[in-house]
Structure formats: structure tokens, C-alpha cells
């Protein structure tokens, strides 16, 4: 299997160049990381409009704190943590709750509206059905790391607030649950 260049590494390269004065590289960073930041914001149960604002605020914070980030490759996790905190600040929850799974139990589910349901393929509907039956912790973790590369999974999961000791197993368990559920569904075919 080929190991993809990690998102953190690519982001770190652009961010380092930006800090050295190549300001245009910041636009590249925005294109590279906005999809995963959007997903991280949505995983915190903020609505789409708020999620967009949360992502924008995180980028503006980066301008103010660019020199605080010691290791350029850490810019990815720095932004994810900032998105998460800003999302929580907006939803009026204390930041100390972020590290718990409490919010998973009390927040409503995010489901695609009819306009988006309509664009799903039959195969995606089956997958969505099973994804919705995962625990919120699993669902959000998988939906965000799906936007990273394999070498990023642990650091992204950690930035999302998974307890350090359980990162790998949590992700593995979540994937296993989903795979097992799909394996027993005759409507699911593994290959599209």
C-alpha cells in the first residue's frame, strides 16, 4: 500500500513558506485545509451557517497566532482545536466539557436535508443508514478523519478530543462496527 503524504506535512510546508514571507502560500493552505475544518466544525453540532463562520474565525486567529506554532506541521491540529473551541464557545458550552463525550448524548443529530438526500446514490443511502446507527463519537470521528490521510489519523483524533490512550482502538472499533454492520446488510456491496 502506498502511504499518502500526510495532510499535516503538506500544510506544514505551505505554512512554513507563508511565515517566511511567501504570503500567497496562505491561500494554498486555505484550499487544502478548509474541507476538513468544515467537517470538524459540523462534528461539533453547529449549523451550516455557523460552521462557515467558525472556520473563518479560526483562519483569522491563525494570522494573530502564526508565530506561536512551534512546529509548522502542527498547523493542522492547531486549526482543528481552534475550530472546536470556537464552535463550543458559540454553542455556549464550557470548554472543559469539550474533552468529555457528554455532548454526544445531549445534542441533536445532524442529518442531511431532503435536498441532499436526493443526490445520494442507493449505495450511499445504505452507508448513511449504518453510519447514523453508530455512536455519535464514532460517527464524528470517522467523518472527520475521512478527510485526512492515514498518517494524520492519530493527531486529528487527538485534536478532536479523543482520550490519548484510546485513540487507536477507538478508531479501530468505530471502523470495525461499521464494517460489521455493512457485512450483515445484504443491500451493501463492498465495491461500487
Amino acid at each position: 500500500m502506498t502511504i499518502a503524504v500526510s495532510l499535516a506535512t503538506r500544510a506544514g510546508t505551505a505554512f512554513a513558506a507563508y511565515r517566511e514571507g511567501d504570503t500567497g502560500r496562505l491561500a494554498e493552505l486555505v484550499d487544502l485545509l478548509s474541507p476538513i475544518l468544515w467537517r470538524a466544525a459540523r462534528a461539533q453540532h453547529v449549523c451550516a451557517a455557523d460552521a462557515e463562520e467558525v472556520v473563518q474565525v479560526a483562519w483569522l486567529r491563525l494570522l494573530d497566532h502564526a508565530d506561536d506554532i512551534v512546529e509548522p506541521a502542527a498547523v493542522l491540529t492547531w486549526l482543528i482545536v481552534t475550530v472546536k473551541r470556537e464552535a463550543w464557545r458559540r454553542s455556549g458550552r464550557a470548554t472543559h466539557e469539550v474533552s468529555t463525550d457528554l455532548h454526544d448524548a445531549v445534542m441533536p443529530e445532524t442529518t442531511p436535508g431532503p435536498e441532499h438526500q436526493a443526490v445520494l446514490t442507493e449505495r450511499q443511502r445504505v452507508l448513511w443508514h449504518h453510519v447514523q446507527r453508530l455512536s455519535p463519537t464514532c460517527r464524528h470521528l470517522l467523518c472527520v478523519i475521512a478527510f485526512a490521510e492515514r498518517p494524520d489519523y492519530d493527531s486529528v483524533a487527538r485534536a478532536l478530543g479523543r482520550p490519548v490512550g484510546s485513540i487507536g482502538p477507538t478508531r479501530g472499533r468505530c471502523l470495525a462496527k461499521l464494517r460489521n454492520a455493512l457485512a450483515t446488510d445484504p443491500e451493501w456491496c463492498a465495491e461500487p
Binding site: 504570503t23 468544515w38 459540523r42 473563518q56 478527510f147 482502538p169 461500487p192
Partner: protein, 166 residues
């Protein structure tokens, strides 16, 4: 098959995550204009500029996300009002007729989403408005433009507009 730990992440998991990514993109897509809006916000901050918002376009549809396609657009900022109207020249290039207040300011047109590098970007066209605020930018090779309004006093913050497509 049971996945026990980190190392057991295999091709099937990678494929499943790829499916999940496609599903998320279809079911809950990121707004198409989000990266452009972020770049605009960063450019405004980096230039310490005033942002001008689109207040009217010919289609009467004000779009907050992504570039809009129209022929005539008005922008409004804290200190600047800008109206631009686009037409095609015989060779297919773009001509912009504009009007701005305050008058005699300098108007720059920048290609596409210059974004955060706008502090050192070279405009595709640059002209000073006359004493009635009128200006013309002709033979523009680009149709996706953002405008920067600069004042004679270098200490006065410039005003920049979102990217629009003509």
C-alpha cells in the same frame, strides 16, 4: 472481520473511509464559496483594509458565497461607494466602466482570488478616477476580478471588494 487495533487498518478500511468522505461531501457539502470567503477575510485583515460588500448586482441576486456572474455591480464600504459595469470589447477582452466616491482615488483590478497575497500582488489594471469619480479599465485579460480602492493618503486604509466574475 474484526479490527483490533491501529495496525489492523487495512485497504478495506481505507476504501470505507473514502466512501465516507464521498458520502459526507454529498450529504452535507461544504459551501462552495467558503475558501474564497476565507481568503477575502484574510486579505482584508492583512491589508488592514476596509471590506466592501456587494449591495446590488444586475441580476438582483446577492450571492454571499463564491463569485457572481453579472454585468453591473455596486459595492459599498465604510468610506467607499463603487459601481462597476462590464462590457465586452471587440476582441473579447473586458472593459469596466466605473464610478466611485470619494473621487480621484486609485482603482486597481486584481485577477481572481488574489487573497492573502494581495499586499504584494501586481494588479492587472490600475487607474485614477477623475474629479467626478469616473474611471475606465480597458482590455482586461481576466473576467474574475477583485477591486482595491487606494487613497492618496497612504495612511488611509484601502478598501477591497470580494471577487466577482463578469
Amino acid at each position: 472481520m474484526i479490527v483490533n487495533d491501529d495496525d489492523a487498518l487495512d485497504l478495506a478500511d481505507e476504501a470505507l473511509l473514502a466512501d465516507l468522505r464521498e458520502l459526507a461531501e454529498a450529504a452535507d457539502p461544504m459551501p462552495a464559496g467558503l475558501p474564497e470567503n476565507v481568503k477575502f477575510a484574510l486579505a482584508v485583515r492583512m491589508l488592514q483594509a476596509e471590506a466592501a460588500a456587494i449591495t446590488h448586482d444586475a441580476a438582483l441576486a446577492i450571492r454571499t458565497a463564491g463569485p457572481s456572474t453579472t454585468a453591473s455591480i455596486a459595492f459599498s464600504g465604510r468610506t467607499v461607494e463603487l459601481l462597476v459595469s462590464a462590457s465586452d470589447e471587440p476582441d473579447g477582452r473586458l472593459r469596466i466602466d466605473g464610478w466611485v466616491t470619494p473621487t480621484q482615488v486609485v482603482i486597481e483590478a486584481h485577477a481572481g482570488a488574489v487573497g492573502p497575497s494581495i499586499d504584494r500582488a501586481v494588479p492587472v489594471a490600475r487607474v485614477q478616477a477623475d474629479d467626478l469619480g469616473r474611471f475606465v479599465l480597458s482590455s482586461l485579460p481576466e473576467r474574475r476580478l477583485m477591486f482595491v480602492v487606494r487613497f492618496a493618503d497612504p495612511h488611509q486604509a484601502p478598501t477591497i471588494t470580494p471577487v466577482v466574475e463578469f
